[in-house]
Amino acid sequence: MKIQIKYFAGLREKAGKNQEEITLQEVCDLKSIYLKLSGQYHFPLSAHEIKYSVNNEYVECSKIPCENDVVVFIPPVAGG
């Protein structure tokens, strides 16, 4: 199953890209996907320190995405 991943703010910086398509070999929730990508990109935030969005709705990290969903990992931002 393929899904789109978008990265914001410091997570984009760490991933070195705005977005990418990933293929999931098995059913998994957003938290598992984040942890897997965090291992690859060394994200500075744990899974409970960010917010998750699927198709422009904020959702819980336990949400299981569907084919072609757009998943966004959203870190807190405070600059001003």
């Binding site: 870190p75 405070a78 001003g80």
Partner: protein
């Protein structure tokens, strides 16, 4: 040479846009800006020049050299001066009919209620979680309209919370706990695109004006994401948290 101007002449384009009765509402409005930094500078200029009747300006800091890249109210001659004092002088020249109230100190739990309750709309232009959550919580307690923005490098977010109507989620429905201060790098460490602050600060002013004249605006539970690297504007929605404190007040 003294040039005398009239309000009708100064606000001719504004009145042409919104009409006499809406402009009267703008003149009656009281808006507080918390933070005169990258967001606060453009927001202040647009609110004052739109004809907002009373503006509160809150910031404890002085102008520093590194501010000038993005804090467009200030110039080299202002370095070392209190931001609220410089803002007062410059806005007086831009909008002489606007009544300015200066608060040259930080918002804290002792002064927040008294100050926030004196205004209709609060613009959170601060740069740290502690101030953002404090401003939010007192805007909620005082049933005010809060317009909040934050930036990181090329990206920003803006949210509007209308607590004068007890509907829709609050910030704590999204972030029930305040993020740790050092959980992400700050603008000081990673930099920020100056024009991004111009866009977000101007949007805060725009949302405030639209609220005053009762035009379509961002709603509670919506976050507008602005990304100047990819030139994208996207709204993401969130719902009330089941056990959030904002439900207890209803």
């Amino acid at each position: 040479m003294t040039i005398s101007i009239t309000q009708d002449e100064l606000y001719k384009r504004q009145i042409a846009l919104v009409g006499e009765s809406s402009f009267l509402q703008i003149k009656k409005a009281k808006v507080l800006l918390v933070g005169v930094g990258g967001l606060g500078c453009p927001a202040l200029q647009y609110l004052a020049s739109a004809g907002v009747g009373e503006i509160g300006i809150m910031d404890f800091d002085v102008v520093s050299t590194s501010n000038l890249q993005r804090q467009i109210l200030f110039d080299i001659s202002d370095i070392g001066k209190k931001k609220v004092d410089v803002a007062f002088l410059k806005l007086n020249k831009l909008a002489p009919f606007c009544s300015l109230h200066l608060f040259p100190f930080a918002l804290n739990s002792l002064n927040a209620q008294e100050i926030i309750s004196s205004f209709d709309i609060i613009l959170d232009c601060s740069d740290n979680y502690k101030c953002k959550f404090l401003t939010h919580d007192y805007a909620f307690l005082c049933s005010k309209i809060l317009i909040q923005a934050s930036v990181y490098q090329y990206e920003g977010q803006i949210q509007v919370f209308d607590f004068s109507k007890q509907s829709g989620p609050c910030l704590r429905c999204l972030w029930s706990e305040m993020p740790k201060d050092r959980c992400m790098d700050t603008c000081q460490e990673v930099g920020v695109l100056g024009p991004l602050l111009g866009v977000l600060g101007s949007m805060q002013a725009s949302e405030a004006i639209k609220h005053i004249i009762k035009k379509e605006h961002l709603k509670n539970g919506e976050t507008l994401f602005v990304d100047l690297l990819t030139n994208s504007f996207e709204i993401r929605r969130f719902k009330k948290l089941e056990n959030c404190a904002c439900r207890v007040v209803e």
